[in-house]
Amino acid sequence: MKLYERSNIKITVILFLTLLLNISIFVPPLTLYSSPQTYQLTALNYIIRNPNIVPGGTFRDPMMGEANTLNPWMYSTSWEYMVISVVYDTLTTIAPDGNVVGVLAKSFEVSKDGKTYIFHLFENATWHDGVPLTAEDVVFTYKFLRDYGNITRWKDYAPYIKDAKALDNYTVEIDLTEPYAPFLTMVASGIFIVPEHIWSNITPSQIPTYKNEHPIGSGPFIFKEHVPQQYYLLVANTKYHLGRPYIDTLIYPIISNPDAMLLALRKGEVDDVTWSVPYATVPDLLKDPNIKIWNVTELGARFMYFNCLRYPMNETLFRLAVHYSINLTEIVNLVYQGFALPGSLGRLPPILQPWANPNIPPKEVKYPFNLTKAAELLDKLGLKDVNGDGWREKPDGTPLKLVIYSPSYDPLRVRVGEILASNLKKIGLNVVHQPLEWTTLVSKLDSGDFDMLIIGGIGSQDPDILRMLFSTNGTWNSGHCSFPDLDPLLYQQAVTVDLEARKQIVWKIQEKIAEYLPLLNFVHQQFVFAYRTDKWAGWILYPLASPDNWFSLLSLYNIQLQKTNITPTAIVYTQTTTTPVATPTITPTLTTSIAPTTTAISTITTGSPTYTPILSTTTYMTATSPAPAPAPTWSIMAVIAVIILVVIIGIIVYLVRRRR
């Protein structure tokens, strides 16, 4: 009985804290954000900690491929991240509600000029080999990043680090060369702290090929065993400074066949799946009461580049006409079967709070699908059919022929390209849609040899991605669209440390993007992850991470081992902000069936992302191949197959016997 009250108190506390945060985001001059800004929250506020939970059990979290390196400086795949992220700790992490919270840091503060960060560490953190973790290790890691970072995956962040000093055993000061607003979300929450007593023996030339086969970290799980192509075995770190995980053994079996992974989930041989389930199988999956699904929305978008170095794509009016000639509601419902949010005009997905500007109307409200309007805009541009062949010509009378490229491996984006091309043809534009093989597509993109090109991905938890996408020299500005009044804002947000001020700039940037339309964002696709609820409870679910995220792995407990009722069995963060215009027909039914069995704390402050396994920016190549039509059930197909087989054999036997 007592425990019941305790956990209820905990929920109340969490509820209160999240509410407080919720307010604090909108009322900046609260104690949490005085200058210098001090951050007091830690990951403990977001995980389930209950002394009555009996730890134990083996959690099986499948991977599809081998993790080739466990070197936290060199990893590149999500499978590698799965192992590294639970063996090593970062200073901070991004909480399910979007706040930056401490992991190794108990609290941390930013100086007013944004150049100095001070981290106060937990005093009881130790490395897996028993050596205590002190400020010296953090200093070593950040100096390592500064000195050798340019040959690692963190090369973009190395130039920002000026110095790192230990103020005392458990206080670290990190000085930056210039203010860098994404420091907390990208660097402090990205760089894994490594032990000085092990990594100081590694020479710089060894780093790229150092495999780190037996990683020693400070994270919640201790690396135990790896059998190539078969599995990774980790055990709970019982001395973890945030409290031990309730999972005793964490196994990552490698299942190379995605269909077998799904069958294993249904049979209960694994506890969740770590790749996006094909949409067509979802209704069938949900027939099992013990299987739930969780939709994860991408941070980027499925979108189309306009080549601004070519006419007429460099005309804002032309890009506007293209926006008028596609129906995003239809794309979401018909092509993506409801598993997507319509593409936002400001590029950032609406769930990326507080950065996504809620004042920008959805595309279907601001520029609704209207072919007549699109045709008028083209007329206004001077693109008219002068020679009477049915296609519009350029104002000087030369023929205009445009090509849309799309990635051939993704049938969904190919369909989007087809729909757009056929709509543009209806208004007299000679547009050809051509799906290309991936490497050809990328080389077209890199060389700038395209008119319009459909691709996907390129998202980040930090709005600094806008600078990479839209500034004149941005890494991802492959359409080379340039807007003189946008560039200063894009650079200003990157150096503005004050959260509220930065948010205002980011919102303004999005307003401008919604006018200039350098990209056509079709959808923010959702990836569907499935997990079992009959053996493990304590899932922490939020819109930007799969169910097996870091917070879940610390909170999950085995139901069968518990002698008393433990609550909550899940904590769900959903976003309560901008709702998409056309709520897809399927999604509501799915969301209700997801609803976890118990106390769901669904207060949302700022639905910001976490768990982007691949660095800051990423082009998704996830294979999502939903079948267009729901297939008949397996048993009917089997019966038909057997009947056909029997008939064929019968005919053969009959013919052969008759001839004699």
Binding site: I151, V227, Q229, I254, S256, N257, K267, L645, I648, I652
Partner: protein, 326 residues
Amino acid sequence: MSGLIRFFIRKIIARFITFFVILTLTFIIPRLLPGGAFAYLVENPNIPPDLRQVLIKQFGLDKPLLDQYLAFLKQFFTTGNIGISFSRLQPVSTVIFQALPWTITLVTTSIIISALIGMLLGLYSAYRRGGYFDTISVAISMIIRSMPGFWLGMVLLIIFGYYLGWAPLFGVYTYGYQYSNILDYIGDVLYHLRLPMITLIILSIPEYLILMRNSVINILGEDFIMVAQAKGLTDREILIKHVFRPASLPILTALTIDVGFSISGAMLIERVFSIPGVGRLAYDAVYMQDYPLLLGVVIYTSALTLILVTIVEIMYSFIDPRVRLE
């Protein structure tokens, strides 16, 4: 006897020359590709220049071609290694030797079992030719021969692994389980491997069945069969003593060819059943553009094929001594 030894030596030398040619080709072909096989490594814009220099030095890509070739041969014949896998960051031989046992187990056992079953079925089929068993087995053989192997594997996995629960869905043993003794372990491995093995066996039975059937039908028309019948031997004695041995010769010939196909066929099966074998390694290597690993897989699987072919040829020479006399 000296003839036999000379025969063996001749065979082994011939195989060694073949192997040497394979080694040379695997060295040359990727270097003839436009941009070079290591374009991924050298021209990848995501790799910073400092790191690129380090990697080029480590993989020896900055030396002249002949030096690279000699170093390659020297390394292979002294250590059995041909370089460092780009993706695994380990010597290629280490990576392959971890995977090779599973492929060898799978391929050799399934070849032996399917050859035995196929030969017996083919013998019976020919003996009762034109009968129901014959027509049905030939028809089924045709259907199986036209099935893609991975599809059959997937169907068996769904039926026996998921619906009936007679076999596990992935892996080669229960991961994370502590075995009390070696017999437990072997039993568990057999339990995990039986479905992939059954798939491979089903896939290769039809070939042996049809070959054996034709060969037996030919032999049944020979004069010595009539002699045996005249002696008053039963059909069973004739089939086992006088037909089986001569009729199995073409099967052995087919076996030598089939070894190579079985290894490549096992690659897809390994992926379907998540078996940590060489096939999956090759698949990953292609996916990760890891040329050293891919070449290593080619070299070691061709070495395996050559060894198995030599063994089969030696068996052949015992069954049919005429081949030794050439």
